[in-house]
């Protein structure tokens, strides 16, 4: 299992992969590797998604953030809080693809501590060969034998003989029976032959090794209790001492079975050096386990949903192609909403019906769509595989609707369904995802939601509004995008907006003199607005006005109204009026009140 670097969104949250959904968020979480705290990862947010567990530190989020793919997670254990110890969730990595299960080797290390030093010296020469991803690649030549062309005695191929790297200069041991050196070709052929047969099941070579590994797997405790484990020789079956590399009797190599586990054990678990190296944990390997320490609650829910995510294995669907859409489109041309139910990424226009009628129509569309999906999927096996993704999703929702949920009442199911539909609409955090009672977390997540929503280039909310919009407008637009579910109260909204500055998000809330609250990009400043005004005024002085004017337009230009400014900069009129007054306040503009209303001039009164 590896810590993977994370991409963060503008709101400093993990960037979700396509199809990945956020399941839970919890703040005030610390990260442990094994038993040790990882420095700089002690106060942050833990995000549980359908694919990953992500950790984002509260301070310097971009520097300290990591993720772990759930597909590499074996299991998660819950550990309740005790006195000053916070509740923790321990995540165990899956055993490596290789046969060497690190967990079984810890026992072996314990039992053979007396020989550990000697072993590490012996194996130091082989070690580089096993640091790669596949430690199993090297044992190949172990059980190979070459037949002496003189006396036809079966000699073992030396353990350090590697067909890939061997050259003509490589020293070869003489035949054990007649003492004649073999030709290189003979040994090479034998080694390659042995390697190729090993890949297919090789009964004669395998038993000792598989036996060695599988015994602790089946009943690990009992095998650990035996003080010294004998290792059977693969050729002559003599029970050798485990620290030996070659058989005492026949000289066959025992290397793979006995040595490597201890190599892993000694170099990883006990040494403090890797720990410090891993304090910069990006891309580093997790050998043992990691722990999430929940200092602010949320542990139970996190654990439940983590278990759920591990069971669902959504990541398996990542590569499944979506159901071909055209057939459905032609079948239901009157239901533009049918396509929209498929997922958030389908850009089909949503039906505009509202209220009960809208809900009923959406339900109808969903049912029609489900019918189509099921109908198409079960036509033949290929279609079923193609639409696996949707069928799984459908099965899940059907299961929920039919009340398979054991403990939950109707209300929790409803909220789940609701929050799901909200997630389908592109919103990420809902109150359901957060443990109840953590109001501040809800607000900060809402705040991040808003920031993401605003800075999302696909929607371009802020761009469309000329980089600035009033908070009330934003509230209306945002709630509308939630489609009537999980609506946000104005007070929550304002408090979330006030958190932007604290959370260092790229959006800021600004209060105009009149008290109007607006939202704008963090890097947008009054100076920039003023420069825009000045450029505009300059332009007005160059371009002659449409009608003849009594004043000297080449000197004074023309007056602008809030409406004109709103139109030009795509602001709302309220914002434009405020910006104009801001510029007036800075002495850049001056006002003219007349029967036509309030107009603003470039300030020629101050010279």
């Amino acid at each position: 299992m590896f810590f993977k670097p994370l991409d963060l969104t503008t709101a400093l949250r993990p960037l979700l992969l396509p199809d990945e959904t956020l399941l839970f968020v919890q703040d005030a979480v610390g990260l442990y590797e094994g038993k040790y705290k990882i420095p700089d990862y002690q106060n942050g947010h833990a995000y549980l998604t359908s694919h990953r567990v992500c950790y984002v530190s509260a301070e310097e989020s971009r520097k300290y953030c990591v993720g772990i793919d759930l597909k590499e997670v074996d299991r998660a254990e819950y550990q309740a809080g005790f006195f000053r110890s916070s509740p923790k969730i321990t995540i165990y990595p899956k055993p490596q693809k290789t046969k060497l299960d690190t967990r079984t080797n810890i026992g072996a290390t314990v039992s053979t501590t007396a020989h550990a030093d000697q072993l590490s010296v012996q194996q130091s020469s082989i070690r580089p060969a096993f640091t790669g991803d596949q430690p199993a690649a090297s044992p190949k030549p172990i059980n190979a034998t070459w037949v002496c062309p003189i006396c036809s005695f079966s000699n073992p191929v030396p353990s350090n003989f590697d067909p890939a790297t061997v050259t003509g200069n490589t020293p070869l041991p003489p035949c054990l029976a007649c003492g004649i050196k073999p030709p290189l070709a003979t040994v090479l052929k034998a080694a390659i032959n042995a390697a190729s047969t090993r890949e297919s099941p090789l009964p004669t070579a395998e038993p000792p090794e598989t036996g060695r590994v599988s015994v602790p797997d089946k009943n690990g405790v009992s095998s650990l209790s035996t003080a010294v484990k004998k290792v059977p020789c693969p050729r002559c079956t003599f029970m050798n001492h485990p620290s030996l590399v070659e058989c005492e009797i026949c000289g066959a190599s025992l290397g793979a079975s006995a040595a490597f586990p201890q190599l892993h054990g000694t170099s990883r678990t006990d040494s403090p050096a890797p720990f410090f190296a891993q304090s910069r944990i990006v891309n580093s390997e997790v050998t043992d386990s990691i722990k999430l320490s929940f200092r602010n609650g949320g542990d139970k829910t996190f654990h439940d949903r983590l278990k759920g995510a591990l069971v669902q294995r959504k990541w398996l669907l990542q590569n499944a192609p979506p159901v071909p859409a055209p057939s459905q489109r032609t079948d239901s041309p009157n239901n533009p909403g049918a396509a929209a139910v498929e997922g958030p990424q389908s850009p089909a226009p949503r039906s505009t019906l509202v209220g009960i009628a809208g809900l009923e129509q959406r339900g109808l569309e969903t049912r029609i769509n489900n019918q189509l999906v099921i109908g198409n999927a079960f036509e033949d096996l290929e279609a079923l595989m193609a639409s696996a993704k949707q069928i799984v999703a459908l099965a899940e929702s059907l299961a929920r609707e039919s009340g398979m949920n054991s403990n939950g009442g109707a209300s929790t199911e409803t909220t789940t369904v609701l929050s799901e539909s909200v997630a389908a609409l592109g919103m990420v955090t809902t109150k359901d995802m957060l443990s109840s009672g953590s109001e501040s977390l809800y607000l900060s997540e809402l705040s991040r939601d808003l920031a993401e929503y605003l800075t999302d280039d696909r929607k371009g909310i802020l761009q469309r509004e000329g980089g600035i919009m009033s908070l009330i407008d934003l509230w209306a637009v945002f709630n509308r995008s939630r489609n009537g579910v999980e609506l946000i109260s104005p007070s929550d909204f304002q408090r979330a907006a006030e958190l932007w500055e604290k959370l260092k998000l790229p959006i800021r809330l600004r209060r105009f003199k009149s008290g109007l609250l607006v939202v704008q990009r963090y890097d947008w400043s009054d100076e920039k607005t003023i420069r825009q005004f000045q450029d505009w005024m300059e332009e007005l002085r160059r371009v002659p006005p449409d009608e003849s004017v009594p004043w000297d337009w080449s000197l004074f230009g023309r007056a602008i109204t809030a409406q004109e400014a709103a139109q030009r900069f795509k602001w709302s009129v309220g914002v434009a009026a405020e910006e104009l007054e801001m510029a007036e306040d800075r002495g850049i503009l001056c006002r003219e009140e007349g029967i036509e209303g309030l107009r603003f001039w470039s300030n020629h009164l101050v010279s």
Binding site: P550, W551, D552, F556, A559, R591, H604, L605
Partner: protein, 203 residues
Amino acid sequence: MSASTAATAAPASSTSFVFPSTYNFPAFFTPQPNSTTRQSQLRKWSSLIQSWCRHHRIYRLSIIEAIDSPLFHNATLRKRLDLAEARTIVDWMAKKEEEGGGGQRAEWIEGPSASSGAKSKNLAWIWWRRPEEWADVLVDWIDATGQRGVVLTVFELVQGEATVSQEFHGMDHDVMMKALNVLVKRGKASVFGNEGEEGVKIF
């Protein structure tokens, strides 16, 4: 525009008054909320009023009458200063500079109707030259013509042929008396004679 720089424009009384460029700026007629802009606006109005009065040899300005004159009414822009705003400007002019005003370039005159009690604020002295400045001008002229210690009548000073070329020629009698009183206070002149036929001796 201070009074001294305006002096160069003063003799051209026969030509029509040239308004400053800001006079054609529509926003000039709206009171500005920004204090910096406001100060600048008041200063511009003050200098406009002063140069207007100097041009037309006006010493006391009736606000009511002026409100319809080109001074406060820009016919081309169809913009005018309303009465309250005009009074605010004169108020500002009357204040001392230390108080954030226009340096006592105006002074309200208690009109004959002031018996009603309230300040009418209709008529104001516009000091495009303060009495002290007039006194200096007088002394300079006396010096230049070598008339120290010579007794002159006030009528001579204001209407006499010798002063035709001077700025104070044709000056308001009250203003002349104020200027002479300044000199008396400085101990540089003595005024004698009855009301209306005063004589003055500057030394």
